[in-house]
Symmetry: D4
Subunit: 161 residues, 8 copies
């Protein structure tokens, strides 16, 4: 029974969204992954959102690009937290994806992270931070991850040659 659903609009988003799953693996967060195109599979989108809480999911992470409607429409169909990852689009470099995801009207939020790979990774960490509010194992994994991250940054200074 996974804690997180990692959803994307197309398999072309997988090269970024894979980084979400890699961090979830590291942090010990369980997940399932899906392709749900907001525009090609609107019925599946709605059903997925409506059943998410009953399916014991805690968080939905949704990556999409261009006129990116997937995160917002999932959020419209559930009261679970939805994290939106703007894909780096071809023409406008993800500015369209970002605005389509973050500029939600009052009433239905999407927790938006950075464009592209950085955002895909941070979506996983944000999900873990939310789960860690009630899960000490995840919290410990997070703390260790952050400590390693800090240690790596500190040690990287030696590479400035």
């Amino acid at each position: 029974m996974p804690q997180v659903a990692v959803v994307m609009g197309s398999t072309s988003d997988w090269s970024s969204m894979k980084k979400t799953t890699e961090i979830l693996d590291i942090l010990g967060v369980t997940y399932e992954k899906h392709v749900i195109s907001a525009h090609r599979m609107p019925q599946e989108l709605q059903a997925f959102g409506a059943q998410a809480r009953d399916n014991k999911l805690q968080i939905i992470i949704a990556g999409a690009g261009g006129a990116a409607h997937l995160p917002g429409m999932l959020a419209a169909n559930t009261t679970l937290p939805v994290i939106g990852v703007p894909m780096q689009s071809r023409a406008l470099n993800g500015l369209d994806s970002l605005l389509s995801i973050v500029q939600m009207p009052a009433g239905v939020p999407v927790a938006t992270v950075a464009i592209g790979d950085a955002g895909a990774k941070n979506a996983a960490i944000l999900a873990a931070q939310i789960i860690a509010l009630n899960d000490d194992d995840i919290l410990q994994a997070l703390n260790e991850y952050r400590e390693r991250q800090t240690k790596t940054s500190i040690e990287s200074e030696a590479e400035l040659i």
Copy 2:
């Protein structure tokens, strides 16, 4: 049995979308009007899109602002032509609305017009142009409208004083 549905995400869009209905009235196109919030009324949105053709509608005009998902999600639920009108949003002046509507992925088009009032008016004219392909009365109304418009522009030169 109206030919066009004029849909908007919120009554706050009505001051612009009213201009759509005013032009439709002038051109003799019949219409119904609705508030359907993509994010607050996702089930109604989907039902509306799915039944639109059966309801004998020919065209859907949808106005929305910010992360404007209404036109694209209606288009995802019907094969009728959907015309999207980007509202002039508060912070980003409609650039977010425009990109959220026009940057649809391949497979599901939205016929996008200009931001704000100009777009609201043009949505009506575009709808009439589509209907006029098989309706000589609308075509005649369109031709007369365009001729008056040209005549008004020509005559306006006298105002340059």
Copy 3:
């Protein structure tokens, strides 16, 4: 006697606009294709627009980049629906093309689709949606296309490995 004219400002737009014709072929929509540069062939542009309805065309699809005047000027010379496709330009990635096409003043609409290849494909689908209002064969082709598209998206989930 083709239903649609696919027009572009330069042969350099053909790599994108070819995708329009490929989808039109799939959907069974007949078309002719032309190079009409708004700035190098303004007389041809005007003649083409003015005669389009008499030539039994139903829809004009026009692709152009940069200060993209072709779609708007065709729309100024006809009351047929004009679909504008913003080419991905070299310096500004199509933002200039998009704004030059979509921001038409009240009175003369252009049905604008996404920048680049996605828009080129969607222009064909939008044209078919318009024609399908009075053509059951095209409607059936559209429905089948959309169904295949949905099926492909659903099945693509298996590729997330």
Copy 4:
């Protein structure tokens, strides 16, 4: 012992961030509120972040404008979820605030919501959605809030006159 801290960089952000607290009140989420300027009070910022979990806070909501460093620097000092609200800035309308908040590097996420008042409201709802994962009272309040919201939208159609 409040569940949420509502933090802002300056009292000039209060007219927006007040909307966060109004929604938190409606949803029954407890909160404290603070002015912590990232640039004028960096030591207080760091102390606040470092002690937030020990102080039994569950979520930090941070509003800031321009070169908005408050949300990201709080996130750097805690593993609690941090929700960032980009203020609508004077010169660039909040585009600077948005990019300064959302474009966090991999490793330290900020859950970013829309620019200005809509984002301030949605920050409260998002916080409630997170807390509701383990609090049935908040979940019920959320569900009722969303239902009223949907009902209000549906009924608003009558105002289109």
Copy 5:
């Protein structure tokens, strides 16, 4: 027999384009003024451009906003120099006007000046600079104008109190 034509797409551009005529008056450049809407009066536009040289015009100054096609289409119909003035548009503050005018493809230039009133004034000065290449009276007027302008700037320092 005027030297310059001051053309605008709509009487709503007159409040800016009037500043063009005021500077032309000061510099002693003769002009005529016209409303020619590219989209509502395409035939008039083409006729005007085609006859401009025969009408002994030397320069065309064209102001337009939004998807501003007037300057570029006039340039397409004449080899006279065309100066384009981007109007400050409602939603996008003239960024759309600017890109629609300046981003002309190779082969047909438009001499573009600044957005709004500053550009309207500079269009007049630029026209005078061109005419002054073969008109010593205009050159003298220009030199005097520039000298007064410099003197005024120098003297304005006294106002810094």
Copy 6:
């Protein structure tokens, strides 16, 4: 005694500005070419601008990128027409160059053309259009150039295969 000076801020602009000289050659316009860096050679810039008219130059074409001050500062030092070509810059693709050149304050115009190679070519044509006001040979060369250009565009349609 050349008619036009082609000036650029750096030899790195030469790959674009070379296209200016190629078109000037075709049109029979005489020119000289210079590197004058606004920021590294401010005295040379000022001297060049101040002596340009005495040197019998008629037009200055100036290409520059980034914070592109060369065209505007040349215009500040002469009353000859100055044509500005915004180079396609590395980070911002020439948007910075464009705004730095076109947004001149009232009083000192720069005739701005498109970003990059298209603008470099059009600068040459614009210069020829200005010179042709009093030079029938250049006018004839221009007319022939435009006719060939139109013919080439018309014939290019055959390549759409």
Copy 7:
């Protein structure tokens, strides 16, 4: 013998640049103030830059808007540090001013601060920080200013009611 020159392109910049002088007064930094229009007074600009060091100035603060060439051209004429303040322009809200000032090519830096009033104030503080490297009185004034600033921010929390 003032330490800092506060220069602006026009008296219309004075409402912002006055804030620079107010902070300089508070910090005890001596200054003179000037209007030097880069485009209307290029000779004065060059002379001012060239003599600045001989005049015992230590820092030049330059405010300008639109195609803002003043800071960069002063920097081209001196090796004193030049601080650039982008004015909030009419059409593009200072984005043009910012890019025209900050995007200087390698070789000639301008120390750029924020658009508008915030930048005007910070220019004064930055100048004081530079002078304080060798002036203990200014350093003490700076430290006290920063401490008051922090104290004011801390105390402002009481206003959140």
Copy 8:
């Protein structure tokens, strides 16, 4: 005892920031270099800023990308001058970095230079200009550097072939 600290958020910034150190070497300015990630090493950041003056540093140069908080947060923790270098980010080409660094609120300035390599080089020159206010050797090195730079630009004209 170095005069300048060159700090960057990550080793991935080193390819640009190396250019800072190369110019510092040429100008004879002493420096130390560090990796300090604002988000991964917030405690180290604060300690570094707080001790910078006691460590006899005169200037901090900080390069960072995306939501670039490093320069601003260092400035918040010291009254030494801080020079910010916006890295050219992946998705938005450094526009996010630039706005995150330059748009500092009143009270805490960051002296911002251009995006990417040009800015990295100019940060070094700006630092030298500041130090040269009280160091005649550095001033002489600067003057010689600028003279060579001017000479190189002048001589480069010979390469236009």
